[in-house]
């Protein structure tokens, strides 16, 4: 429950989460779903001001779905699938993100960050009193110990010392926890600056992401626009190199540029500014997100460029990756070395995100003479030669494959020609369940899931016996038969569209083991109960997940 300031402070907690932003709040909700209590420390007195991160990827919607926060997000948000880029007044690129009529979620939903925080918070509260969120309180000191950490928290009623088994730093780019541990982000920062401005204005324009290079409204600049709920536009524009950042964000310098652009695109309803900020691209990360009993997630561990929307989306993926591992370790079901895989997988993801983000930044905010000149050439050439239009593509966020993760069971990979390798996100598919339709990804986010592919319904008894219907949390194993035809029932889904068999490169007897976070752990052409038991034992030290 949301405690008032008069509620006594706990002396000891299993998990202390520094920062109640979208990543910290989602992590608290996920941990609670897995049965782990947490204390969330948030410096602000409520949800964030300003819209901040606005583009929620399909993967983020899926993760929020694990705690039931997806529905309000999708209902309130604006879904979109593509965008257009213009050079001056000519369209040079129309991109579409992967999308299909049977999909569970749109590839992207635009929504103000404070709504995402609110929905994650409500989801946390709905998990049964395991989340203790303290507003207006701030971590002031962290003293790591071998079996936990001592944390000093400054609150309105004084400083409190809390003993935590685990501390997760979700306290953003200027993380106090990171500073307390004497750690520094490593990488590069780009000089090029963008002003970010939200304005309220009614519009009937299609929800997509338009971008203009050198538009007649603001010659020489680059402008990006996104629609948000409540009649809000997000407008990002590139600031000239010789402009003083402090001057650039002053309304008298921002508003004429916005007016000029809205006029150019024919948006003539009255408007007013809501929020103005300035941004420069950063490609920074900690080399490790685990330091003993202290873990880092979201901006506290890494800062990636906004182009391609990998910031908050990668933070939510951190939370999704960490929650089940931390729960298994805290419940004594896995060795704490499982958390090393959190760090190695998510550091790898950050490096991928940085590689894509750097490419986007080099185009959107060219860092030197070479990139400036090449962009001028590429934009001109793309008006006559579509072969170079991919250079203009914003390279939107997609889930990262955990290449070489210690959790991947790769020995059977040579038996497959396609489908999802160990370490890849398990593909989506729409199937028929008893009574309704069922998306495969809707079975993720709880415990492990085993898929057994067959022509007709019917699980081998030994595989069926692996299921642990009485176990809750990430240690549970759900066993599902995916049959090409026949009748669906409680543990049988019918692949009437053939999507699952195709996307999993499945034949009769193919078995996939999927982690609680929806990543493929291993797959077998003819998987046996012993294969699965060995795989789970490696992870949890026990023959069954439970």
């Amino acid at each position: 429950m949301n405690k008032s300031s008069s509620t006594p402070w706990p002396a000891r907690v299993p998990v202390l989460i520094a920062g109640g932003g979208p990543v910290g709040m989602t992590l608290a909700a996920l941990l609670a779903r897995y049965g782990i209590a947490s204390l969330v420390i948030e410096a602000d007195d409520g949800y964030c001001a300003g819209s901040r991160a606005i583009c929620m990827s399909r993967r983020s919607q899926e993760i929020l779905g694990w705690v039931g926060a997806d529905r309000p997000l999708v209902d309130k948000g604006l879904s979109w699938v593509g965008g257009r880029s213009y050079f001056r007044d000519r369209e040079v690129l129309h991109f579409q993100m992967p999308s299909e009529p049977t999909q569970r979620y749109a590839p992207m939903v635009n929504i103000q960050q404070y709504y995402a925080e609110e929905y994650a918070h409500k989801a946390a509260l709905a998990q049964g009193g395991l989340v203790d969120l303290r507003w207006s309180s701030k971590v002031s000191a962290v003293r790591p110990q071998t079996d936990g950490a001592q944390v000093d928290v400054q609150a309105a009623d004084g400083t409190h010392t809390v003993q935590a088994d685990w501390v997760v730093a979700c306290d953003g780019g200027r993380s106090t926890v990171r500073e307390q541990l004497g750690l520094q982000l490593e990488g590069t920062q780009y000089e090029g600056k963008y002003v970010i401005v939200d304005v309220v204005q009614k519009t009937k324009r299609e929800v997509e992401r338009p971008a203009w290079f050198d538009p007649p409204s603001n010659p020489g600049s680059t402008i990006l626009m996104h629609r948000q709920p409540d009649d809000v536009w997000r407008i990002d524009y590139q600031v000239r190199d010789d402009e003083d950042p402090a001057e650039a964000v002053k309304p008298e310098n921002v508003l004429p540029r916005v007016q000029s652009h809205l006029s150019m695109i024919g948006e003539n309803e009255p408007w007013e500014p809501l929020w103005i900020s300035i941004y420069n691209a950063k490609c920074l990360t900690l080399p490790s997100y685990r330091h003993g009993r202290v873990l880092f997630a979201g901006d506290a561990g890494h800062l990636v460029p906004i182009f391609g929307v990998r910031g908050l989306n990668s933070g939510l993926d951190d939370a999704g990756n960490l929650a089940w591992k931390l729960a298994l370790v805290q419940q004594g079901r896995a060795a704490d070395s499982l958390l090393d895989s959190y760090s190695s997988e998510r550091v790898h993801a950050t490096r991928e995100n940085i590689a894509y983000g750097a490419k986007s930044t080099e185009f959107m905010a060219p860092p030197d003479y070479g990139f400036k000149l090449l962009r001028e050439a590429a934009l001109r050439l793309t008006t006559e030669n579509p072969a170079v239009s991919s250079l203009v593509n914003p390279r939107q966020s997609t889930p990262v494959e955990y290449v070489n993760s210690p959790l991947n069971l790769s020995d059977q990979e040579s038996a497959f020609k396609a489908g999802a390798r160990a370490g890849m996100p398990a593909p989506e598919a729409l199937l028929r369940a008893s009574g309704a339709h069922s998306h495969l990804t809707s079975h993720f986010g709880a415990g492990f899931v085993l898929f057994y592919f067959a022509r007709q319904p019917g699980l081998p008894a030994a595989l069926e016996a692996l299921a642990t219907p009485d176990v809750a949390g990430p240690a549970a194993l759900k066993v599902i038969c995916i049959a090409s035809q026949g009748q669906a029932n409680a543990n049988t889904l019918i692949d009437e569209l053939g999507q699952a068999h195709e996307r999993y490169d499945a034949e009769e007897g193919t078995v996939y083991l999927v982690r609680p976070d929806g990543y493929v752990m291993g797959r077998w052409r003819e998987g046996t109960a012993a294969d699965v038991q060995v795989a789970l034992k490696r992870l949890t030290g026990q023959p069954c997940a439970a």
Binding site: K359, E362, P366, D368, Y369, G370, F371, L373, L374, A377, A378, R380, L381, T383, E384, N385, A387, V388, S390, L391
Partner: protein
């Protein structure tokens, strides 16, 4: 050329252009263009020259 190969070569060309610097960039790019021209035929090279000249004036 695949999209990722285009990305890779675009980045390499931008970085090399920055390294040689603004003053020598025309010479660098002329040398590169000449070398690439020898990989194609005259008709295509002349068409690309005409296109680049047209685009440079936009």
């Amino acid at each position: 050329m695949t999209e990722s190969q285009l990305d890779q070569t675009y980045t390499a060309l931008a970085q090399a252009t920055a390294r040689v610097g603004e003053a020598k960039a025309p010479l660098f790019l002329a040398t590169l263009s000449l070398a690439l021209m020898t990989r194609t035929d005259a008709a295509e090279a002349l068409a690309l020259i005409a296109q680049a000249e047209r685009l440079a004036n936009t």
